[in-house]
Homo-oligomer: 368 residues x 2
């Protein structure tokens, strides 16, 4: 028997720019053309974003091949939509010199990022997030996920954006529920990494709910700084990056079990509360921390209790399907103090017994 | 406006082992378990490979979750099959600790590699190629491609294998046409990189057609050495790796236009001949080179003329959809001498006028 060794060299290190401002959208296209002039843009957006006028604001009267996801929302974040997008790019005779431009919320960003990752073995994507969720979280970091008929984010790739443009004015068109729900990821960033940021959100909550752009810009800077730092340290989620999944293990299961009647941020809010109860059970709580978190989420107007009609057995089954599950049970991201992840033996994810999780799910369920 | 910069660090350099031998299959499973013991294997193969006994040879009586592509062949190398594979992995409750094991030919390797790349943002894949095509070419290098309803390899990813095991005894079960067709990529490797290897194939053609395992092992070493060297220098096909596409630009179009009635290697043989004629038109020929190549391919029993029923206008349209096309026209990989790519100004792909390509397509077409 012969043996050969084939070396896979390291990729080149890179970087991407995150621009944050108010009212950027109408002047963005020439900037993108200047930065990526040799590439042919393909815009991916959804019907809500188009109806809100953001597509017109970006393109003006310029023609550009595009795909408008319709119906918009989580229900379209699936592999069938990804296939339709790729085939639309092919039918527009686009090649490897394509630049995918994602204009929209989390679903648009995920779909566009994933489509860019798998189109002809990968083309770059520029993210222009238009929602509190996407601006505060999903547009940076390069994670993409697309649902299958079996579970959430069964398909996905790590695909870092080539640039991110955050126009905080874009969130003015969001309905109140979407707007508030999207801010939960900002609360999460504060909880996992920066107690001062948490206090900032507490103090600025009224201004935030009034959508004051100066506060939104500061929020975007906090979010991008925190998330950027974590992603730089661990881009492919070997360990540290897992901290970004705080509240997400149970949150994803709740979102799925609700049949997406709960918005992502609403489900994550419940996941954050569940994590708080698990922390108490695991001896990781500080006096008053869960109450303070609960109060902030209540001011934000997102749920802090499990809907009574969810089936806990179904939640447990969904947890077994979690993509981070090993031997059919996931590990959990937990805090040991506000702004700091519990990290035993250098591991950012903690083993939690199934009985503790079942008990917590029962205790945070509304009236049955 | 604020600007932040997010750094994307370089990936870790890696390497993978290519083991080459005769009769490896029955002892492979324990080796894989020893090398990847903490991972849960999921075997992807096809109905032909299973019928040939290779799946039993690999697994014995050991149970392992698996997906058998049926019907086998290029017709199943599409995104629908990839989706079905991922959903089968989910239904087997597999997580990120999955090890995909690809047992089969080019289609199996591509499907399994792509499914591994997009399952839960990527899990490792071990390639066990069982055909002359896969052993000589597709199992190493990390390229995966999956067809859409519009064109070939519209979907894909670069996903390097974690290990490759080449058992040359496995090709004994191939039918004659598949066996011979699969050797065209070996001829291509010789043409682009090693005139001595080309001479070896000429001299050993009878032994090769008799499937002598010692010659097949030597062939595998030549192929893996050549391809490994190119892939190491340019893993993501920025430039040099393009040389591996010699004969493939027109070859892919021919394969598609034939509705996959031509096997991949058969179509590439025609593409190689077409490249030879383009080389003559471009002043890159050596005396007798095209004749020598034609003679070798004829001994191999693969086509060297375009089937008369193919429509050249359709071929031109397919070339416009080539994934390497820029401005709707691909560039071509050409030789300036046997064993050496024409590389003007350091570029491994050459601009060729559309009229030259049209003329060559006409001249190599059989009777009309």
């Amino acid at each position: 028997m012969h043996e050969l060794e084939i070396k896979v060299p390291a990729s080149q290190p890179g970087s991407y720019k995150v621009a944050i401002g108010t009212g950027l959208l109408p002047s963005l296209w020439p900037q993108i053309k200047a930065a990526f002039g040799h590439r042919r843009p393909f815009v991916i957006t959804d019907a809500n974003v188009a109806a809100a006028g953001h597509l017109d604001a970006l393109l003006g009267s310029r023609p550009a091949p595009q795909f408008v996801i319709d119906p918009p929302g989580e229900g379209s974040k699936n592999i069938a939509t990804a296939v339709a997008i790729v085939e639309a790019m092919e039918k527009a005779y686009l090649g490897r010199d394509t630049l995918v431009v994602a204009l929209g919320g989390g679903t648009v960003g995920d779909m566009a990022g994933f489509a860019a990752a798998i189109f002809k073995r990968g083309v770059p994507v520029v993210q222009i997030p238009t929602t509190t969720l996407a601006q505060g979280d999903s547009a940076i970091g390069g994670k993409t996920g697309v649902d299958s008929s079996v579970s959430k984010n069964a398909f996905g790739a790590f695909w870092h954006p080539a640039a991110v443009y955050i126009d905080v004015a874009a969130v003015q068109t969001l309905d109140e529920r979407q707007y508030r729900s999207g801010l939960v990821e900002s609360v999460k960033h504060a909880m996992i990494a920066d107690a001062d940021y948490f206090e900032f959100i507490e103090q600025q909550m009224d201004a935030l709910l009034a959508r004051r752009t100066d506060v939104l810009e500061t929020l975007a800077r906090f979010n991008c700084t925190i998330k950027g730092r974590v992603v730089e340290a661990d881009p492919d989620e070997q360990n540290q990056r897992r901290m970004l999944n705080y509240g997400h293990t149970i949150g994803h299961a709740v979102e799925s079990a609700s049949n997406y009647q709960l918005l992502h941020g609403e489900a994550i809010a419940i996941g954050i509360i569940a994590a708080g109860y698990i922390e108490i059970e695991m001896g990781l709580s500080e006096p008053g921390r869960l109450e303070r978190v609960t109060a902030l989420l209540e001011r934000l107007g997102v749920p802090t209790k499990m809907p009574a009609d969810l089936d806990n057995r179904q939640l447990i089954d969904l947890l077994k399907h979690d993509k981070k599950a090993v031997d059919r049970w996931p590990r959990f991201i937990l805090l040991d103090r506000l702004g700091h992840i519990h990290c035993p033996h250098g591991q950012y994810a903690t083993d939690v017994d199934r009985t503790i999780v079942e008990q917590v799910l029962n205790s945070i369920t509304g009236n049955r």
